[in-house]
């Protein structure tokens, strides 16, 4: 049976040698290599649930009066988009499950990407020959952030609208051409027209997902071309790759991970409420709620917007750079420029143009680890500052004092953390290299994925 199928395909395509090779393709075993796979499967769930949602969602800002089943909004004026969001949550069987699962999948997608990025950065997996894979990955992160924000904004509830007007302000703040760009995107001054909603919709359901899909393909193809990197081990060398073959061992493991991702997302989607749009109510430009927040992965931007003192360079009476530019545009640009430039920066400083198929442990390159910890702690601190209003409501700490403290801390803490990380790595290396320690600094990988001193 299988033989006949293989025969059929091969005699029509001639690809049996390739298939054979792929079946025996080797995946090194380490749990940290699965983070990207988690993101991949989140993306699959996102596409599946997302397609389902498009069957019911109506992306139109056309104004309607609500006469659905949810009493607290009865008779209120709202957009068609928001009403269809309510209807698919309340009237469509399984609609709310799919909507919530979709939203959870987006949140977890970005969690997985972030963890994956950290793993790649601190193990030096971005080094030659994997730069293309790395750039595609960082670009996917940028697009995933935009894609998530577009989805958050589509529903046109109170949070959507408040998020969109902030996005509009950030676009407006871009030097010289910002105002014109914003008018183009929104089809006029905020809130724009129905045309804007169509653009947001097509971006969310077609342009961005397809762009992510194409990059994903590049990401995966370049991985196949270069083969996976691996941690040093008793058999692992620069010139080989050691691990489980795709078939059968790895394929089933990977299916297992895919199912586990789907399990977690559907369990969350059914049992833990996310973005209850009926509780936020419809958006009107003159309304707002305290403590409105973007989805977590944009929390670092709201933090930067909030922390920035009210500084706007001006020429005479005329503003040049509006304040929203610093936190909303410049800050993410710096962070992503750093991420994109890092492989080149590192190459320039080390003069290292060799192939690296063996990964570093974070301690192996103390200065890179130090710089990375500094950067991620910087972004992380600003991220936490963005939620300080909510997190400290209970503790009754004066908001203004918090902001003043954070303004200093976001620069001090990363420097200190980076320095500590570097020293820590150096100490670990020194400890390992001590001549009296067994192994004298050589380690080997244990079968379970950990490390132990290698006696030679």
């Amino acid at each position: 049976m299988i033989y006949r199928l293989v025969r059929f395909v091969d005699t029509r395509t001639g690809q049996a040698p390739l298939v054979k090779k792929l079946l025996r393709y080797v995946f090194p075993d380490h749990w940290s290599f699965l983070l990207g796979e988690i993101a991949l499967y989140c993306f699959v769930v996102l596409v599946g649930t997302g397609v389902y949602l498009t069957f019911f969602f109506d992306a139109s800002t056309h104004s309607v009066i609500y006469h659905g089943t949810y009493a607290p909004l009865q008779g209120q004026e709202m957009s068609q988009a928001y009403r269809s969001g309510l209807d698919l949550s309340f009237q469509t069987k399984a609609g709310l499950l799919m909507r919530q699962t979709h939203h959870w999948a987006a949140d977890v997608f970005l969690v997985a990407i972030t963890l994956h990025l950290l793993r790649v950065f601190f193990t030096g997996a971005f080094r030659k020959p994997r730069e293309i894979t790395y750039y595609a990955g960082v670009l996917m992160l940028v697009l995933a952030l935009l894609e998530g924000f577009a989805g958050y904004s589509l529903v046109d509830d109170l949070l959507s609208g408040m998020g969109l007007v902030i996005a509009y302000s950030v676009v407006m703040s871009l030097p010289v051409f910002g105002a014109n760009l914003a008018l183009l995107i929104w089809h006029g001054p905020f809130p724009g027209t129905d045309a804007f909603q169509s653009r947001l919709y097509i971006a969310h359901v077609l342009l961005l997902p397809v762009a992510i899909g194409v990059l994903l393909l590049i990401h995966l193809l370049t991985i196949v071309f270069t083969h996976h990197s691996q941690f040093p081990g008793p058999r692992a060398r620069e010139s080989n790759v050691v691990g489980t073959p795709a078939w059968p061992g790895y394929a089933f493991r990977s299916f297992g991970l895919a199912f586990a991702v789907a399990a977690v997302l559907f369990l969350l989607g059914g049992l833990v409420q996310i973005n209850p749009i009926w509780e936020w109510g419809p958006y009107h430009t003159a309304q707002s709620t305290n403590g409105a927040q973007p989805d977590w992965y944009l929390g670092w931007l709201i933090g930067a917007l909030r922390l920035m003192p009210g500084w706007e360079p001006a020429a005479g009476d005329y503003t040049l750079i509006p304040n929203a530019f610093w936190g909303g545009a410049l800050f993410p640009t710096i962070v992503f420029l750093f991420l994109f430039a890092w492989p080149s920066i590192e190459r320039r400083f080390t003069g290292d143009h060799a192939y690296h198929h063996l990964l570093n442990r974070p301690r192996d390159v103390p200065w890179r680890t130090g710089v990375g910890v500094g950067l991620f702690v910087w972004v992380g601190m600003i991220f936490f500052a963005g939620s300080s209003d909510r997190l400290f409501v209970e503790m009754n700490i004066d908001y203004e004092s918090q902001i003043y403290v954070y303004r200093a801390l976001v620069f001090v803490v990363p420097l200190v953390a980076g320095w500590i990380a570097k020293r820590w790595c150096e100490e670990l290396l020194r400890y390992e290299a001590h001549p009296l320690r067994p192994g004298g600094g050589r380690v080997r990988r244990t079968p379970s994925g950990g490390f132990e001193p290698a006696d030679e």
Partner: protein, 300 residues
């Protein structure tokens, strides 16, 4: 098939793994049947999620146990193929370049191609200018307010001066203007007339201490929906208008100056007057452009 060299090691699947996978598959099927039943019987979101989650959880167990115990396990070592083909790289470069062998005016042609390419790309991009008002930032300065336009409340009723208590906050709109426009909405507050300290050129803008400000924050465009008005306290700060997005804080007494937060320019103020019927009307134009700032916007 027969006679093909064996690739996998010999493997005897452990009994427990077979049983575990069997059970996991059966349970996944049962949960899936449950999902169908719940869907048919009213589709409670929690039950649907729980059951579908369990379906996948059991499938995950089945797949992982299969991958790790049921099928042959092996640790394979494979030599990497070289990624470096210097010889071919050279061949390709030379081959590609050979195309230009017979052409004499190579540079001229290259430039022509470049120029054509740029203009063609430009031509293809130009239609994007239809996406919105192109190079018409003037639209951002449009004003819903002109002298004499009435202020109406949330329910469309004209706002009357005598209805506004000291220390109150009232959202208001320009009568007859689309409320969703950023320049249409106001937040009207009334302070003790003695506490109002507007700049001289705004004399008469606040009859009886009634002040009207744009409701849209000059920082990031959210609705300024908070008024803090101290009932009593020796310590509490003065009255202020606060935006809930990034907590920009404006002083209504002094013409909307920024007291705290990221906003870079004051909240625009609308001069108002009380007409013969005691209703509030605009007495001129806003003190500055409404909404988030942009390059070249006037600060005042």
């Amino acid at each position: 098939m027969r006679g093909a060299p064996r690739l996998l090691p010999k493997w005897a699947a452990p009994r427990w793994a077979e049983i575990a996978v069997l059970w996991a598959l059966l349970l996944a099927g049962a949960a899936a049947a449950g999902f169908i039943a719940v869907y048919a019987l009213g589709a409670d979101t929690q039950w649907l999620g729980l059951l579908l989650g369990l379906v996948f959880a059991f499938l995950a167990v089945a797949a992982i146990v299969t991958g790790k115990a049921l099928v042959p396990q092996e640790q394979k070592e494979q030599e990497r193929e070289s990624l470096d083909h210097e010889r071919e790289d050279l061949d390709i470069a030379v081959y590609v370049q050979e195309v230009g062998e017979g052409i004499t005016r190579k540079r001229l042609l290259k430039r022509a191609a470049g120029a054509a390419g740029l203009t063609v790309v430009g031509a293809l991009l130009v239609p994007l200018a239809s996406c919105g008002p192109f190079l018409e930032a003037e639209q951002l300065r449009r004003m819903a307010w002109r002298s004499g336009r009435r202020l109406v409340d949330e329910y469309g009723k004209p706002l009357r001066a005598e209805d506004l208590a000291v220390g109150s906050m009232t959202p208001a709109y320009a009568e007859g203007v689309d409320r969703e426009r950023l320049d249409a909405s106001l937040i009207v507050v009334r302070l003790e007339a003695d506490d109002v300290r507007l700049p001289e050129q705004r004399a008469g803008w606040a009859p009886s201490g009634i002040l009207a400000y744009s409701k849209i924050c000059t920082h990031a465009g959210c609705a300024v929906s908070m008024l803090r008005y101290p009932l009593y306290s020796p310590k509490v700060p003065r009255p202020a208008l606060v935006c809930p997005c990034h907590y920009s804080t404006f002083d209504p007494a002094t013409g909307g100056e920024v007291l705290f937060g990221p906003a870079g320019r004051p909240l625009p103020q609308l001069p108002i007057e009380v007409d013969g019927n005691g209703e509030l009307r605009a007495a001129g134009r806003m003190s500055g452009p409404v909404g988030p700032s942009w390059w070249g916007v006037r600060q005042g």
